[in-house]
């Protein structure tokens, strides 16, 4: 399996990346190398093996439902490029 240029352009667009022609060539090579490596792994027969998503397979430690104020609102708002009142200001969305 390999990715063609068109697919790389589409992925870049979905990821909000603007790439130059040279970069598209470079990333096409990089991505195909990664896919080639994964393809090797796929030669293994994993029939009947449960997919492992993480190192621990249980989730016993959930959070109790208690509301706590972070106290960080003003600091975080100051990090926003622009704001109006306590709202974050962004270019107009249709």
């Amino acid at each position: 399996m390999s990715l063609d240029r068109e697919e790389v352009i589409k992925i870049a667009k979905l990821a909000n990346l603007r790439l130059t022609d040279e970069e598209i060539d470079k990333y096409s090579g990089d991505l195909n190398a990664i896919l080639g490596y994964v393809e090797q792994l796929q030669e293994l027969d994993t029939t009947g093996v449960e997919p492992m998503i993480g190192a621990i397979n249980h989730n016993k430690e959930l959070r109790e439902d208690k509301a706590v104020d972070s106290g960080l609102q003003a600091k975080m708002l100051a990090n926003a490029p622009d704001s109006e009142g306590t709202a974050i200001k962004v270019p107009q969305m249709s």
């Binding site: 589409k10 667009k13 979905l14 909000n16 998503i53 993480g54 621990i56 397979n57 249980h58 989730n59 016993k60 959930l62 959070r63 109790e64 439902d65 208690k66 509301a67 706590v68 104020d69 972070s70 960080l72 609102q73 975080m76 708002l77 622009d82 109006e84 009142g85 306590t86 709202a87 974050i88 200001k89 962004v90 270019p91 107009q92 969305m93 249709s94």
Partner: protein, 482 residues
């Protein structure tokens, strides 16, 4: 109504209902879920999507999802998982929404909507997005920026996805109403559609009988019962027109506009359909013990349809009455309490859906905003039953007093002298007096005009201010007019 127009096409509808879970804190952080705070008051680095933070799953949200699933007849998956759904939009600070994709917590349920059962495909947990406010709504097109409020970002939702088993606007509305009732009865969601606690996406396709299902359009932003109905009607017209002209329906997402009642294509999001889901690496799989599911099943309350059936069977109230009372949990609780205080079921039901409902409608109040307690209503109904007061007196002089002031019933009757006259002799004297002072009418009665009897009843009631038991008056008139 779509179903009332000439239907050349069959309409097939599937609904995705997003219900906000009634937790105190958000799905993956401890920020409050309180509605109506100033923008970004309920935020922290986790729900703001800061780098290096980790989500921690809210225990209560999982419990609510299980309860909702069981109430809707779903199978609970003891091992479900969260995934990332990736797209860019300013109301989504992380650049992805944490949702459940191919391994949701609940599968394969059902919900009865009267004569039909709608299958539920799945229920999954996910976090909500924030809110975009377009600066100055009146100058929407003139404004050059939007404002982002992330108070709602990461509040817990369940998305309830139905199979395409719905075939009219009416059925769709009934389905959402029934669903909302179940969520309110199980207390997992407050059902407040104005505040966005319950929102709907509607998938609609048309086909002709015998043909395969048509291409569907997904209508977003359908957030009231009226909108559901209008959006479906509009889509029926739009799609049937395209098909009539030999055109093809494009599979797309469309936005419903409340103002115009129309739907329009959301071209800007077309590309975003490729969400590139993958397992959320920041969260462990959701593992649930069978015991938790069993306990939740044990703890399920009586559901709306079970309650309705019980009212019909146990209390012999008719189906419409049972439906009206069970439509609202508060009313159902009130009704049951009135019965437990000794009132008769049918009387209590008729009072609740009759004079009391009329008062609530007129004053735009709910029961708990009045002073009427179940005890007071029961006391009044028992007094009617005993013949101490008449139905009419209760309607005209007592019930509003109870609703507005919660006055003690016995004192009210005494102070206003509302009790029926039980002294037969006293009433007989009044009847005789009425007969004696109206010889002309007596003449008419004797010459065969039976209807004139009503005149005498009226005169007696006038003299007794409605406090003579009508049956006794009739009986005495029959005797004395001979």
């Amino acid at each position: 109504m779509a179903t009332e127009t000439k239907q050349e096409y069959n309409i097939t509808i599937g609904l995705e209902v997003h219900a906000q879970l009634k937790t105190k804190s958000k799905l993956f952080c401890s920020c409050s879920t309180e509605f109506g705070k100033e923008p970004n008051a309920n935020t922290c680095p986790v729900c703001m999507g800061y780098p290096g933070v980790l989500p921690v799953l809210n225990k209560q949200a999982v419990a609510y999802a299980i309860t909702a699933g069981l109430a809707l007849g779903c199978k609970i998956d003891l091992n479900s998982r969260f995934d990332r759904k990736q797209y860019f939009y300013p109301d989504l600070p992380k650049g992805y929404q944490i949702s459940q994709f191919d391994n949701p917590i609940c599968n394969h349920g059902k919900l009865s909507i009267g004569n039909k059962e709608v299958r539920i495909l799945r229920i999954h947990m996910e976090e909500d997005a924030g809110k975009l406010v377009h600066a100055g709504a009146e100058r929407l097109h003139g404004s050059d920026h939007s404002l982002v409020d992330l108070n709602r970002a990461s509040t817990p939702l369940i998305e309830i996805v139905s199979e395409p088993d719905i075939n009219s606007a009416e059925e769709a509305v009934t389905y959402v109403k029934e669903l909302r009732k179940v969520l309110l009865y199980t207390e997992v969601c407050d059902g407040n559609m104005q505040e966005g606690s319950l929102r709907c996406d509607v998938n609609i396709s048309l086909n002709k009988t015998g043909q395969p299902l048509g291409t569907r359009a997904e209508i977003k932003n359908v957030n009231s019962f009226r909108s559901i109905s209008r959006a479906i009607e509009y889509e029926y017209k739009r799609q049937s027109q395209i098909l009539d002209e030999g055109g093809k329906i494009v599979q797309e997402t469309r936005l419903f506009e409340e103002g115009t009642g129309k739907t329009h294509s959301m071209r800007s999001k077309e590309e975003a359909h490729d969400y590139r889901y993958f397992p959320e690496p920041d969260l462990l799989p959701v593992t649930i013990e069978q015991k938790q599911v069993d306990d939740a099943r044990q703890g399920l309350p009586e559901l709306p349809q079970q309650k309705k059936t019980r009212y019909i069977e146990e209390f012999q109230v008719n189906e419409d009455t049972a439906t009206t009372i069970t439509d609202d949990l508060e009313t159902a609780h009130f009704f049951e309490k009135v019965l437990s205080k000794g009132a008769k079921a049918n009387k209590a039901a008729n009072w609740i859906i009759g004079p009391i409902a009329a008062y609530l409608n007129e004053n735009k109040k709910s029961l708990n905003e009045t002073k009427l307690s179940a005890e007071l209503l029961a006391e009044m109904l028992v007094l009617i039953e005993k013949g101490t007061i008449s139905d009419n007196i209760a309607k005209n002089d007592i019930i509003n007093e109870l609703l507005e002031n919660g006055s003690p019933v016995a004192k009210l009757i005494e102070d206003k002298g509302l009790a029926q006259i039980t002294d037969t002799g006293a009433i007989e004297a009044i009847v005789q007096e009425v007969i004696d002072t109206n010889p002309k009418q007596v003449e008419q009665f004797k010459s065969g005009n039976d209807k004139i009897k009503g005149f005498f009843v009226g005169q007696v009631m006038k003299k007794t201010q409605g406090k003579a038991p009508p049956s006794l008056v009739n009986q005495l008139l029959g005797k004395l007019l001979k």
